[in-house]
Protein backbone atom coordinates (compact mmCIF):
# COMPACT_ATOMS: atom_id res chain seq x y z
CA UNK A 1 0.00 0.00 0.00
CA UNK A 2 1.74 3.13 -1.17
CA UNK A 3 0.44 6.22 0.55
CA UNK A 4 2.03 9.67 0.56
CA UNK A 5 2.84 9.17 4.22
CA UNK A 6 4.65 5.88 3.64
CA UNK A 7 6.61 7.45 0.85
CA UNK A 8 7.64 10.26 3.13
CA UNK A 9 8.76 7.84 5.83
CA UNK A 10 10.68 5.73 3.35
CA UNK A 11 12.35 8.85 2.00
CA UNK A 12 13.36 9.96 5.49
CA UNK A 13 14.81 6.55 6.20
CA UNK A 14 16.80 6.62 2.99
CA UNK A 15 18.25 10.04 3.73
CA UNK A 16 19.23 8.99 7.24
CA UNK A 17 20.76 5.74 6.05
CA UNK A 18 22.88 7.44 3.44
CA UNK A 19 23.90 10.04 6.02
CA UNK A 20 24.94 7.35 8.48
CA UNK A 21 26.96 5.56 5.83
CA UNK A 22 28.95 8.63 4.97
CA UNK A 23 29.73 9.97 8.42
CA UNK A 24 29.84 6.74 10.46
CA UNK A 25 33.57 6.23 10.11
CA UNK A 26 36.28 8.45 11.45
CA UNK A 27 39.03 7.12 9.21
CA UNK A 28 39.60 7.82 5.57
CA UNK A 29 42.25 6.84 3.11
CA UNK A 30 43.89 8.47 0.17
CA UNK A 31 45.92 7.05 -2.67
CA UNK A 32 46.83 9.61 -5.27
CA UNK A 33 43.61 11.35 -6.22
CA UNK A 34 41.39 8.56 -4.87
CA UNK A 35 39.67 8.98 -1.53
CA UNK A 36 38.51 5.87 0.29
CA UNK A 37 34.92 5.38 1.37
CA UNK A 38 34.95 3.32 4.55
CA UNK A 39 31.25 2.45 4.33
CA UNK A 40 31.76 0.90 0.93
CA UNK A 41 34.97 -0.65 2.20
CA UNK A 42 32.95 -2.32 4.93
CA UNK A 43 30.72 -4.05 2.39
CA UNK A 44 33.78 -5.28 0.53
CA UNK A 45 35.44 -6.32 3.75
CA UNK A 46 32.44 -8.38 4.83
CA UNK A 47 32.44 -10.10 1.50
CA UNK A 48 36.14 -10.71 0.88
CA UNK A 49 38.11 -10.29 4.10
CA UNK A 50 36.00 -11.17 7.15
CA UNK A 51 36.26 -14.92 6.57
CA UNK A 52 39.89 -14.80 7.65
CA UNK A 53 40.36 -11.43 9.38
CA UNK A 54 37.04 -11.61 11.26
CA UNK A 55 34.10 -9.22 11.43
CA UNK A 56 35.85 -7.36 14.23
CA UNK A 57 39.14 -7.19 12.35
CA UNK A 58 40.93 -9.13 15.08
CA UNK A 59 42.31 -11.82 12.79
CA UNK A 60 39.91 -14.40 14.24
CA UNK A 61 37.69 -15.11 11.26
CA UNK A 62 36.25 -18.58 10.88
CA UNK A 63 39.07 -19.70 8.58
CA UNK A 64 41.82 -18.26 10.75
CA UNK A 65 42.60 -21.36 12.75
CA UNK A 66 43.43 -23.26 9.58
CA UNK A 67 45.99 -20.72 8.43
CA UNK A 68 49.70 -20.38 9.03
CA UNK A 69 50.74 -17.62 9.17
CA UNK A 70 47.55 -16.40 10.82
CA UNK A 71 45.61 -13.47 9.38
CA UNK A 72 46.63 -9.99 10.50
CA UNK A 73 44.92 -8.58 13.61
CA UNK A 74 43.94 -5.09 12.48
CA UNK A 75 42.99 -4.03 16.00
CA UNK A 76 46.70 -4.01 16.96
CA UNK A 77 47.61 -1.86 13.93
CA UNK A 78 51.02 -3.54 13.71
CA UNK A 79 52.03 -4.23 10.13
CA UNK A 80 54.99 -6.03 8.60
CA UNK A 81 55.21 -4.23 5.30
CA UNK A 82 55.79 -0.54 5.85
CA UNK A 83 57.84 2.27 4.39
CA UNK A 84 57.84 3.92 7.83
CA UNK A 85 60.28 3.30 10.73
CA UNK A 86 59.69 0.50 13.22
CA UNK A 87 56.96 1.42 15.70
CA UNK A 88 55.20 3.71 13.26
CA UNK A 89 51.83 3.21 11.65
CA UNK A 90 52.05 2.38 7.95
CA UNK A 91 51.14 4.84 5.22
CA UNK A 92 47.95 4.26 3.25
CA UNK A 93 50.18 3.44 0.31
CA UNK A 94 51.87 0.66 2.32
CA UNK A 95 48.54 -1.00 3.04
CA UNK A 96 47.51 -0.47 -0.56
CA UNK A 97 50.67 -2.19 -1.81
CA UNK A 98 50.04 -5.18 0.43
CA UNK A 99 46.46 -5.49 -0.82
CA UNK A 100 47.63 -5.26 -4.38
CA UNK A 101 50.59 -7.60 -4.04
CA UNK A 102 49.20 -10.10 -1.56
CA UNK A 103 51.48 -11.73 0.97
CA UNK A 104 53.50 -14.51 -0.53
CA UNK A 105 53.66 -17.87 1.27
CA UNK A 106 50.49 -17.04 3.14
CA UNK A 107 46.78 -17.34 2.42
CA UNK A 108 46.60 -13.63 1.62
CA UNK A 109 46.06 -13.34 -2.13
CA UNK A 110 46.62 -10.36 -4.35
CA UNK A 111 43.49 -8.22 -4.51
CA UNK A 112 44.47 -6.89 -7.87
CA UNK A 113 41.14 -8.07 -9.32
CA UNK A 114 39.37 -5.37 -7.31
CA UNK A 115 39.34 -1.88 -8.72
CA UNK A 116 41.72 0.74 -7.37
CA UNK A 117 38.81 2.56 -5.78
CA UNK A 118 37.68 -0.61 -4.04
CA UNK A 119 41.14 -1.22 -2.61
CA UNK A 120 41.31 2.36 -1.34
CA UNK A 121 37.85 1.92 0.21
CA UNK A 122 39.00 -1.25 1.97
CA UNK A 123 41.97 0.58 3.47
CA UNK A 124 39.69 3.32 4.77
CA UNK A 125 37.59 0.69 6.52
CA UNK A 126 40.49 -1.37 7.90
CA UNK A 127 41.93 1.72 9.58
CA UNK A 128 38.78 2.00 11.71
CA UNK A 129 39.62 -1.20 13.57
CA UNK A 130 42.32 0.46 15.68
CA UNK A 131 42.13 3.73 17.55
CA UNK A 132 45.83 4.16 16.83
CA UNK A 133 44.87 5.48 13.42
CA UNK A 134 42.75 8.12 15.15
CA UNK A 135 45.41 9.10 17.68
CA UNK A 136 48.69 8.83 15.80
CA UNK A 137 50.15 9.98 12.54
CA UNK A 138 52.49 7.71 10.59
CA UNK A 139 56.11 8.85 10.68
CA UNK A 140 57.67 9.97 7.40
CA UNK A 141 58.74 7.11 5.16
CA UNK A 142 62.34 6.01 5.22
CA UNK A 143 64.24 7.62 2.35
CA UNK A 144 65.83 5.13 -0.03
CA UNK A 145 68.75 6.65 -1.92
CA UNK A 146 69.56 5.56 -5.46
CA UNK A 147 71.11 2.12 -5.68
CA UNK A 148 74.80 2.05 -6.54
CA UNK A 149 75.85 -0.63 -9.01
CA UNK A 150 76.65 -4.04 -7.53
CA UNK A 151 80.32 -4.95 -7.58
CA UNK A 152 82.51 -7.66 -6.16
CA UNK A 153 83.57 -5.13 -3.51
CA UNK A 154 80.02 -4.30 -2.50
CA UNK A 155 79.12 -8.00 -2.34
CA UNK A 156 82.11 -8.88 -0.20
CA UNK A 157 81.46 -5.91 2.08
CA UNK A 158 77.83 -7.03 2.32
CA UNK A 159 79.02 -10.46 3.35
CA UNK A 160 81.05 -8.91 6.18
CA UNK A 161 77.97 -6.99 7.29
CA UNK A 162 75.91 -10.19 7.23
CA UNK A 163 78.41 -11.46 9.81
CA UNK A 164 78.75 -8.25 11.77
CA UNK A 165 75.01 -7.58 12.04
CA UNK A 166 74.61 -11.25 12.96
CA UNK A 167 71.93 -11.86 10.36
CA UNK A 168 73.19 -15.44 10.35
CA UNK A 169 71.96 -16.04 13.90
CA UNK A 170 68.48 -16.51 12.44
CA UNK A 171 68.95 -16.71 8.67
CA UNK A 172 71.90 -19.14 8.85
CA UNK A 173 75.49 -18.78 7.68
CA UNK A 174 74.49 -19.52 4.08
CA UNK A 175 71.06 -17.95 4.24
CA UNK A 176 69.21 -21.26 4.65
CA UNK A 177 67.09 -19.86 7.48
CA UNK A 178 68.70 -22.32 9.88
CA UNK A 179 70.73 -20.15 12.26
CA UNK A 180 71.09 -21.10 15.93
CA UNK A 181 68.14 -18.91 16.99
CA UNK A 182 65.86 -19.97 14.13
CA UNK A 183 63.94 -22.71 15.91
CA UNK A 184 63.12 -20.54 18.92
CA UNK A 185 61.60 -17.61 17.04
CA UNK A 186 58.10 -16.49 17.95
CA UNK A 187 56.00 -13.71 16.48
CA UNK A 188 54.37 -11.04 18.64
CA UNK A 189 51.33 -13.28 19.17
CA UNK A 190 53.70 -15.92 20.53
CA UNK A 191 53.31 -18.22 17.57
CA UNK A 192 56.30 -19.96 15.97
CA UNK A 193 57.68 -18.18 12.92
CA UNK A 194 60.48 -19.17 10.58
CA UNK A 195 63.17 -16.81 9.29
CA UNK A 196 63.34 -16.33 5.54
CA UNK A 197 65.34 -18.97 3.69
CA UNK A 198 67.19 -17.09 0.97
CA UNK A 199 67.93 -20.31 -0.90
CA UNK A 200 64.29 -21.37 -1.16
CA UNK A 201 63.62 -19.26 -4.22
CA UNK A 202 60.53 -17.83 -2.56
CA UNK A 203 59.36 -14.30 -2.96
CA UNK A 204 59.80 -11.81 -0.16
CA UNK A 205 56.61 -10.97 1.68
CA UNK A 206 56.95 -7.22 1.24
CA UNK A 207 57.95 -6.91 -2.40
CA UNK A 208 60.46 -8.26 -4.84
CA UNK A 209 62.71 -5.40 -5.85
CA UNK A 210 66.10 -4.43 -4.45
CA UNK A 211 64.42 -1.38 -2.94
CA UNK A 212 61.92 -3.64 -1.18
CA UNK A 213 64.76 -5.72 0.24
CA UNK A 214 66.56 -2.58 1.40
CA UNK A 215 63.36 -1.37 3.01
CA UNK A 216 62.68 -4.68 4.79
CA UNK A 217 65.83 -4.67 6.88
CA UNK A 218 65.85 -0.93 7.46
CA UNK A 219 62.24 -0.73 8.71
CA UNK A 220 62.11 -4.23 10.18
CA UNK A 221 58.99 -6.38 9.95
CA UNK A 222 56.93 -5.25 12.93
CA UNK A 223 55.12 -8.04 14.74
CA UNK A 224 57.90 -10.50 13.86
CA UNK A 225 61.40 -11.12 15.25
CA UNK A 226 62.94 -9.23 12.30
CA UNK A 227 64.30 -5.99 13.78
CA UNK A 228 65.04 -2.66 12.18
CA UNK A 229 68.68 -2.01 11.25
CA UNK A 230 68.04 1.62 10.45
CA UNK A 231 70.22 2.89 13.29
CA UNK A 232 73.00 0.39 12.59
CA UNK A 233 73.53 0.57 8.84
CA UNK A 234 74.49 3.51 6.66
CA UNK A 235 72.62 3.65 3.34
CA UNK A 236 75.66 2.54 1.34
CA UNK A 237 76.17 -0.38 3.73
CA UNK A 238 72.54 -1.36 3.36
CA UNK A 239 72.97 -1.48 -0.42
CA UNK A 240 76.08 -3.66 0.00
CA UNK A 241 74.01 -6.01 2.11
CA UNK A 242 71.28 -6.09 -0.55
CA UNK A 243 73.87 -7.05 -3.17
CA UNK A 244 75.23 -9.84 -0.99
CA UNK A 245 71.77 -11.17 -0.07
CA UNK A 246 70.94 -11.45 -3.78
CA UNK A 247 73.88 -13.84 -4.18
CA UNK A 248 72.31 -16.15 -1.59
CA UNK A 249 69.10 -16.45 -3.56
CA UNK A 250 69.05 -19.36 -5.94
CA UNK A 251 66.30 -18.79 -8.40
CA UNK A 252 65.24 -21.98 -10.14
CA UNK A 253 65.45 -21.45 -13.88
CA UNK A 254 62.43 -21.95 -16.09
CA UNK A 255 60.19 -22.87 -13.20
CA UNK A 256 57.36 -20.86 -11.76
CA UNK A 257 57.85 -20.08 -8.13
CA UNK A 258 54.24 -19.14 -7.70
CA UNK A 259 51.30 -21.35 -6.95
CA UNK A 260 53.33 -24.40 -5.97
CA UNK A 261 52.04 -26.14 -2.88
CA UNK A 262 54.80 -26.73 -0.38
CA UNK A 263 55.13 -29.26 2.41
CA UNK A 264 56.90 -27.82 5.43
CA UNK A 265 58.56 -30.56 7.49
CA UNK A 266 56.88 -30.88 10.85
CA UNK A 267 54.31 -28.26 10.03
CA UNK A 268 51.53 -30.45 8.70
CA UNK A 269 49.75 -29.95 5.43
CA UNK A 270 50.85 -27.68 2.67
CA UNK A 271 50.17 -24.01 2.99
CA UNK A 272 47.52 -22.61 0.73
CA UNK A 273 49.17 -21.30 -2.38
CA UNK A 274 48.90 -17.66 -3.32
CA UNK A 275 47.17 -16.92 -6.54
CA UNK A 276 49.13 -16.19 -9.64
CA UNK A 277 50.37 -12.67 -10.05
CA UNK A 278 51.92 -12.18 -13.40
CA UNK A 279 54.90 -9.99 -14.00
CA UNK A 280 52.68 -7.86 -16.16
CA UNK A 281 50.26 -7.31 -13.30
CA UNK A 282 53.12 -6.40 -11.04
CA UNK A 283 54.49 -3.88 -13.44
CA UNK A 284 51.03 -2.35 -13.82
CA UNK A 285 50.74 -2.37 -10.07
CA UNK A 286 53.91 -0.39 -9.62
CA UNK A 287 52.76 2.13 -12.22
CA UNK A 288 49.52 2.57 -10.36
CA UNK A 289 51.24 4.12 -7.38
Amino acid sequence: MITPRNTLVAGACLVLSVFSLTVGFSQESQIGSLNGNAAHGKQLYRRYCAGCHGDEGNGEGENARHLDPRPRDFTAAVFKCRSTPTGSLPLDSDLYSTLERGVHASAMPSWYPLTRQERVDLIAYIKNFSQRFREEKPQPPLPIPAEPPASSESISHGKQLFQKMECWKCHGADGHGNGPSAVTLMDSKNRPIAPYDFTSGERFKCGESNQDLYRIFMTGLDGTPMPSFMEDLKPEEAWDLVHYLRTLQKKPEGQSRQGIARIIPGKGPAKPASPQVTAEQQSIASKNH
Binding site: V9, S20, F25, M165, G223
Partner: protein
Protein backbone atom coordinates in the same frame (compact mmCIF):
# COMPACT_ATOMS: atom_id res chain seq x y z
CA UNK B 1 -2.37 2.23 14.34
CA UNK B 2 -0.20 2.53 17.43
CA UNK B 3 1.77 -0.52 16.50
CA UNK B 4 2.36 0.87 13.07
CA UNK B 5 3.62 4.14 14.50
CA UNK B 6 5.97 2.26 16.75
CA UNK B 7 7.27 0.40 13.75
CA UNK B 8 7.81 3.62 11.84
CA UNK B 9 9.67 5.19 14.74
CA UNK B 10 11.89 2.15 15.05
CA UNK B 11 12.69 2.20 11.36
CA UNK B 12 13.44 5.89 11.57
CA UNK B 13 15.73 5.54 14.57
CA UNK B 14 17.67 2.56 13.29
CA UNK B 15 20.00 4.52 11.00
CA UNK B 16 20.73 6.88 13.87
CA UNK B 17 22.30 4.10 15.87
CA UNK B 18 24.65 3.51 12.98
CA UNK B 19 25.88 7.06 13.26
CA UNK B 20 28.14 6.18 16.15
CA UNK B 21 31.80 6.05 15.30
CA UNK B 22 32.77 2.61 14.23
CA UNK B 23 35.76 0.76 15.56
CA UNK B 24 37.29 -0.35 18.79
CA UNK B 25 35.80 2.21 21.11
CA UNK B 26 36.34 5.92 21.05
CA UNK B 27 39.53 7.45 22.30
CA UNK B 28 39.68 6.85 26.02
CA UNK B 29 41.66 8.53 28.74
CA UNK B 30 43.97 5.57 28.95
CA UNK B 31 44.88 5.99 25.33
CA UNK B 32 45.85 9.60 25.54
CA UNK B 33 49.37 10.71 26.21
CA UNK B 34 49.49 11.12 29.94
CA UNK B 35 51.97 13.93 30.26
CA UNK B 36 51.50 17.48 29.19
CA UNK B 37 50.87 19.89 32.02
CA UNK B 38 53.44 21.10 34.49
CA UNK B 39 53.93 19.10 37.66
CA UNK B 40 51.26 19.85 40.21
CA UNK B 41 52.50 21.71 43.27
CA UNK B 42 53.06 19.18 45.99
CA UNK B 43 51.51 20.31 49.21
CA UNK B 44 53.97 18.50 51.42
CA UNK B 45 57.57 19.25 52.25
CA UNK B 46 58.75 15.92 51.03
CA UNK B 47 58.37 14.09 54.31
CA UNK B 48 55.20 12.19 53.44
CA UNK B 49 56.05 8.69 52.38
CA UNK B 50 54.86 5.13 52.24
CA UNK B 51 57.42 2.42 52.73
CA UNK B 52 57.39 -1.29 53.46
CA UNK B 53 58.36 -4.75 52.41
CA UNK B 54 56.99 -7.24 49.91
CA UNK B 55 57.14 -10.90 50.86
CA UNK B 56 56.24 -14.09 49.12
CA UNK B 57 54.35 -16.89 50.83
CA UNK B 58 54.22 -20.45 49.60
CA UNK B 59 56.67 -22.62 47.76
CA UNK B 60 58.84 -20.76 45.29
CA UNK B 61 58.56 -22.36 41.86
CA UNK B 62 61.61 -24.02 40.41
CA UNK B 63 63.22 -21.60 38.00
CA UNK B 64 63.85 -22.68 34.44
CA UNK B 65 67.50 -23.21 33.66
CA UNK B 66 69.00 -21.27 30.80
CA UNK B 67 71.29 -22.74 28.22
CA UNK B 68 73.51 -20.06 26.78
CA UNK B 69 75.70 -22.44 24.81
CA UNK B 70 75.07 -20.47 21.62
CA UNK B 71 76.70 -17.43 23.25
CA UNK B 72 79.90 -18.69 24.90
CA UNK B 73 81.05 -15.17 25.87
CA UNK B 74 77.80 -14.60 27.76
CA UNK B 75 77.73 -18.11 29.25
CA UNK B 76 81.21 -17.55 30.68
CA UNK B 77 79.91 -14.63 32.75
CA UNK B 78 77.39 -16.73 34.66
CA UNK B 79 79.12 -19.81 36.07
CA UNK B 80 77.62 -23.25 35.61
CA UNK B 81 73.95 -23.02 36.51
CA UNK B 82 72.09 -20.08 35.05
CA UNK B 83 68.41 -19.72 35.83
CA UNK B 84 65.74 -17.31 34.70
CA UNK B 85 65.51 -14.25 36.95
CA UNK B 86 61.77 -13.84 37.41
CA UNK B 87 61.62 -14.80 41.07
CA UNK B 88 64.28 -13.26 43.32
CA UNK B 89 63.88 -13.88 47.03
CA UNK B 90 65.87 -12.83 50.09
CA UNK B 91 65.81 -13.85 53.74
CA UNK B 92 62.33 -14.48 55.26
CA UNK B 93 60.75 -14.72 51.82
CA UNK B 94 61.30 -11.10 50.83
CA UNK B 95 60.52 -10.72 47.14
CA UNK B 96 62.43 -8.73 44.57
CA UNK B 97 61.39 -7.49 41.11
CA UNK B 98 58.03 -6.30 42.43
CA UNK B 99 56.71 -2.98 41.18
CA UNK B 100 54.98 -1.04 43.96
CA UNK B 101 53.06 1.99 42.77
CA UNK B 102 50.20 4.39 43.35
CA UNK B 103 47.38 3.03 41.23
CA UNK B 104 44.76 5.62 42.19
CA UNK B 105 44.25 8.66 44.37
CA UNK B 106 46.30 11.28 42.54
CA UNK B 107 43.27 12.73 40.81
CA UNK B 108 43.98 14.62 37.63
CA UNK B 109 47.39 15.90 38.67
CA UNK B 110 49.78 15.85 35.74
CA UNK B 111 53.48 15.15 36.08
CA UNK B 112 56.15 15.95 33.54
CA UNK B 113 58.88 13.40 32.93
CA UNK B 114 62.21 13.71 34.76
CA UNK B 115 65.14 14.84 32.65
CA UNK B 116 67.47 11.96 33.48
CA UNK B 117 67.02 8.80 31.42
CA UNK B 118 66.17 5.35 32.71
CA UNK B 119 68.86 2.92 31.63
CA UNK B 120 68.60 -0.75 30.82
CA UNK B 121 71.76 -2.69 30.08
CA UNK B 122 72.23 -5.92 28.17
CA UNK B 123 75.14 -7.62 29.88
CA UNK B 124 75.98 -11.30 29.77
CA UNK B 125 72.89 -11.75 27.61
CA UNK B 126 70.53 -10.75 30.40
CA UNK B 127 68.70 -7.51 31.02
CA UNK B 128 69.92 -5.44 33.90
CA UNK B 129 67.79 -4.53 35.74
CA UNK B 130 65.24 -7.23 35.02
CA UNK B 131 62.39 -4.78 35.64
CA UNK B 132 62.60 -1.14 34.79
CA UNK B 133 60.02 1.47 35.76
CA UNK B 134 59.87 4.95 34.31
CA UNK B 135 57.51 7.81 33.60
CA UNK B 136 55.60 8.36 30.41
CA UNK B 137 57.78 10.26 27.94
CA UNK B 138 60.86 9.82 30.13
CA UNK B 139 63.82 8.85 28.00
CA UNK B 140 64.83 5.19 28.07
CA UNK B 141 68.37 4.27 27.05
CA UNK B 142 69.08 0.70 26.06
CA UNK B 143 72.78 -0.15 26.30
CA UNK B 144 74.50 -3.17 24.78
CA UNK B 145 77.57 -4.07 26.85
CA UNK B 146 77.90 -7.46 25.17
CA UNK B 147 80.09 -8.54 22.30
CA UNK B 148 77.05 -9.92 20.51
CA UNK B 149 74.07 -8.42 18.70
CA UNK B 150 70.79 -8.07 20.51
CA UNK B 151 67.43 -6.96 19.28
CA UNK B 152 65.23 -5.01 21.64
CA UNK B 153 61.59 -5.80 21.08
CA UNK B 154 58.97 -4.32 23.45
CA UNK B 155 55.51 -5.87 23.05
CA UNK B 156 53.13 -3.27 24.44
CA UNK B 157 49.36 -3.12 24.33
CA UNK B 158 48.84 0.62 24.80
CA UNK B 159 52.13 1.86 23.36
CA UNK B 160 53.89 1.25 20.08
CA UNK B 161 55.53 -2.04 19.31
CA UNK B 162 58.99 -1.63 17.83
CA UNK B 163 61.96 -3.89 17.25
CA UNK B 164 65.51 -2.62 16.79
CA UNK B 165 68.76 -4.42 16.26
CA UNK B 166 71.77 -3.37 18.35
CA UNK B 167 75.09 -4.85 17.28
CA UNK B 168 78.04 -4.60 19.70
CA UNK B 169 79.59 -1.17 20.04
CA UNK B 170 76.51 0.70 18.86
CA UNK B 171 75.38 3.74 20.86
CA UNK B 172 72.43 3.33 23.25
CA UNK B 173 69.01 3.04 21.66
CA UNK B 174 66.80 5.84 22.88
CA UNK B 175 63.07 5.49 23.24
CA UNK B 176 60.08 6.90 25.08
CA UNK B 177 56.69 5.45 25.85
CA UNK B 178 53.81 7.89 25.71
CA UNK B 179 51.19 6.05 27.74
CA UNK B 180 50.90 4.40 31.11
CA UNK B 181 51.27 0.63 30.86
CA UNK B 182 52.09 -1.87 33.58
CA UNK B 183 54.00 -3.60 32.31
CA UNK B 184 55.35 -4.00 28.78
CA UNK B 185 57.08 -7.34 28.09
CA UNK B 186 60.42 -6.95 26.34
CA UNK B 187 62.26 -9.69 24.55
CA UNK B 188 65.31 -10.34 22.45
CA UNK B 189 64.33 -12.65 19.64
CA UNK B 190 67.89 -13.79 19.04
CA UNK B 191 68.25 -14.96 22.65
CA UNK B 192 64.91 -16.46 23.70
CA UNK B 193 65.83 -16.52 27.40
CA UNK B 194 66.17 -12.73 27.51
CA UNK B 195 63.01 -11.30 29.00
CA UNK B 196 62.30 -8.08 30.78
CA UNK B 197 59.47 -5.72 31.65
CA UNK B 198 59.20 -1.97 31.22
CA UNK B 199 56.56 -0.32 33.44
CA UNK B 200 55.39 3.12 32.34
CA UNK B 201 53.68 5.47 34.80
CA UNK B 202 52.00 8.82 34.38
CA UNK B 203 53.32 9.90 37.79
CA UNK B 204 56.58 9.48 39.75
CA UNK B 205 55.19 7.35 42.62
CA UNK B 206 56.58 3.91 41.90
CA UNK B 207 59.44 1.68 43.04
CA UNK B 208 60.89 -1.69 42.14
CA UNK B 209 61.87 -3.91 45.05
CA UNK B 210 65.31 -5.40 45.40
CA UNK B 211 66.06 -8.78 46.89
CA UNK B 212 65.19 -7.40 50.35
CA UNK B 213 61.63 -6.69 49.17
CA UNK B 214 61.91 -3.07 50.34
CA UNK B 215 60.25 -0.10 48.69
CA UNK B 216 59.63 3.55 49.44
CA UNK B 217 57.28 6.01 47.74
CA UNK B 218 58.43 9.49 48.72
CA UNK B 219 57.08 13.03 48.44
CA UNK B 220 53.47 11.95 48.24
CA UNK B 221 50.93 14.72 48.65
CA UNK B 222 48.59 14.06 51.60
CA UNK B 223 45.63 11.97 50.51
CA UNK B 224 44.08 8.56 50.24
CA UNK B 225 45.72 6.23 47.79
CA UNK B 226 45.46 2.76 46.42
CA UNK B 227 48.92 1.20 46.37
CA UNK B 228 49.45 -1.83 44.15
CA UNK B 229 52.23 -4.42 44.24
CA UNK B 230 52.73 -6.20 40.91
CA UNK B 231 54.84 -9.22 40.11
CA UNK B 232 55.18 -10.65 36.63
CA UNK B 233 54.44 -14.22 37.77
CA UNK B 234 52.47 -13.83 40.99
CA UNK B 235 50.03 -11.14 39.86
CA UNK B 236 49.01 -8.00 41.73
CA UNK B 237 47.57 -7.09 45.10
CA UNK B 238 46.45 -3.70 46.37
CA UNK B 239 45.80 -1.82 49.60
CA UNK B 240 44.32 1.54 50.49
CA UNK B 241 46.20 3.99 52.66
CA UNK B 242 45.64 7.54 53.87
CA UNK B 243 48.57 9.73 54.69
CA UNK B 244 48.64 13.24 56.06
CA UNK B 245 51.18 16.01 55.61
CA UNK B 246 54.66 15.04 56.76
CA UNK B 247 53.44 11.59 57.64
CA UNK B 248 55.44 8.44 56.96
CA UNK B 249 53.52 5.20 57.02
CA UNK B 250 54.46 1.54 56.74
CA UNK B 251 52.69 -0.79 54.35
CA UNK B 252 53.65 -4.41 53.74
CA UNK B 253 52.50 -6.66 50.94
CA UNK B 254 52.27 -10.42 50.63
CA UNK B 255 52.13 -12.16 47.27
CA UNK B 256 51.21 -15.81 46.98
CA UNK B 257 53.71 -17.90 45.07
CA UNK B 258 52.21 -19.96 42.30
CA UNK B 259 53.71 -22.22 39.73
CA UNK B 260 53.81 -21.00 36.17
Amino acid sequence: MRIRNLYLITVLLLPLTLLQPHGVGAASGAGNPSVGGPAAPLDSNGASAVSGTVKMVGQAPKLASINMAQEPACAKMHGTQMTSGEVVTGADGTLGNVIVYVSSGLGDRAFGPPSQPAIIDQKGCVYSPHIIALQANQKLEVVNSDQTSHNIHPLPVNNREWNKSQPPGMPPIEATFAREEIAIPVKCNVHPWMKSYIAVFKHPYFAVTGKDGGFELRNLPPGTYTITAWHEKFGATEQKITIGANEAKKLDFVLKARSY
